[in-house]
Symmetry: C2
DNA sequence: GTCTATAAAGCGATAGAC
DNA sequence: GTCTATCGCTTTATAGAC
């Protein structure tokens, strides 16, 4: 059989884009078929569980990406300071310099939180924890590192809100730069 | 005719709650009638324009509340420092100490942003501007005040995301306290 | 694996009785 | 001003041809 086109994994990024654009309830099957260029039959062949399974797959892929590209580097970078800097670079790229929104954040604010509580909770908890560990290795005390990590992860989410509200992606990058500046001096004053 | 029950204005807060809980697309008329305890007939009597007009009314009420309770005090408080402190108090109360989400933030992240672009944009722009003005009156230079204002307004939105993701309202109040601490020393170091 | 056709339910909105 | 009944459309999901 000549596998004509993509596997299930190829569809997930397209699905993510649809969910990001319209939210879970707004992502109708009409919009999904349009965004994936796949018929309903194909979609349900890949995701027999329907929209719920699609969102689950999207969240899993996001989780994997952040674990590989952000959380693990934060935890295991030889130079903790550099690991934090790399996080800002990766995050700026991931959110397309402020033009892309965080789906987990969207789900967290909406009614979707209840259904995907575990994954939504784990995503932010792991991010804060990994960043706090890096900051501690860079010289901060435990309490200060945790507080700073919460500020930064929250600040990133808030900057995405503001950037999209103002339709001004540059606002996000400016906020990222300021947060990074706020972290670099561990013992300086 | 014995006016049995509420006027249009009494319905708006109930509508706001429904939109906050389910988002615009998720706020079906079934959920709206349940949340307002009004039949479809009554709803459409108050809001002939349907859901769109309902959301417009909700956004307008939010805008009015923040202008009266937050933006104007920030701009005209005799003591700018105290005006900023009052903002944190008002915001903490408004969002029920982190148990309530910001509808404008939800709309900003979602597809609703396009339809309500002007109001969403204006809400955050006015907030940042009013806070920056207060910070400048409190001793910050213009650029620093604007940057700090963006950090704080964004930080509030982000803290709401994190608090709801973790289902831990206290996280929001802790973030508020840290942001306030970051602002009070204008000339101290 | 991909499509079209279709079923059953829910949607926003309207009409008309009271 | 509030209700119930109903319209037409869209929704999710399934069935079956190819």
């Amino acid at each position: 059989m000549p596998r004509v086109m993509g596997e299930r994994g190829d569809v997930v990024p397209l699905l993510a884009e649809v969910f990001r654009t319209y939210g879970f309830e707004g992502a109708s099957l009409a919009r999904i078929t349009e965004g994936t260029r796949l018929g309903k039959g194909s979609i349900y062949n890949f995701f027999p569980g329907g929209k719920e399974e699609m969102a689950e797959a999207v969240l899993s892929e996001i989780d994997t990406w952040f674990r590989d590209q952000v959380f693990q580097p934060l935890r295991h970078a030889a130079d903790a300071q550099q690991g934090v800097a790399d996080m800002f670079t990766a995050v700026g790229r991931y959110f397309l310099s402020g033009r892309k929104v965080c789906l987990v954040g969207v789900f967290a604010l909406g009614h979707e939180r209840d259904r995907y509580a575990v994954k939504v909770q784990a995503y932010f908890a792991e991010w804060v924890q990994a960043l706090a560990a890096a900051l501690q290795r860079a010289g901060h005390d435990a309490d200060g590192a945790l507080a700073l990590a919460e500020d930064v992860v929250g600040g990133i989410q808030g900057a995405l809100v503001l950037a999209r509200a103002a339709d001004e992606p540059a606002l996000f990058m400016r906020a990222l730069a300021r947060m990074q500046q706020r972290l670099v001096p561990p013992g300086t004053c």
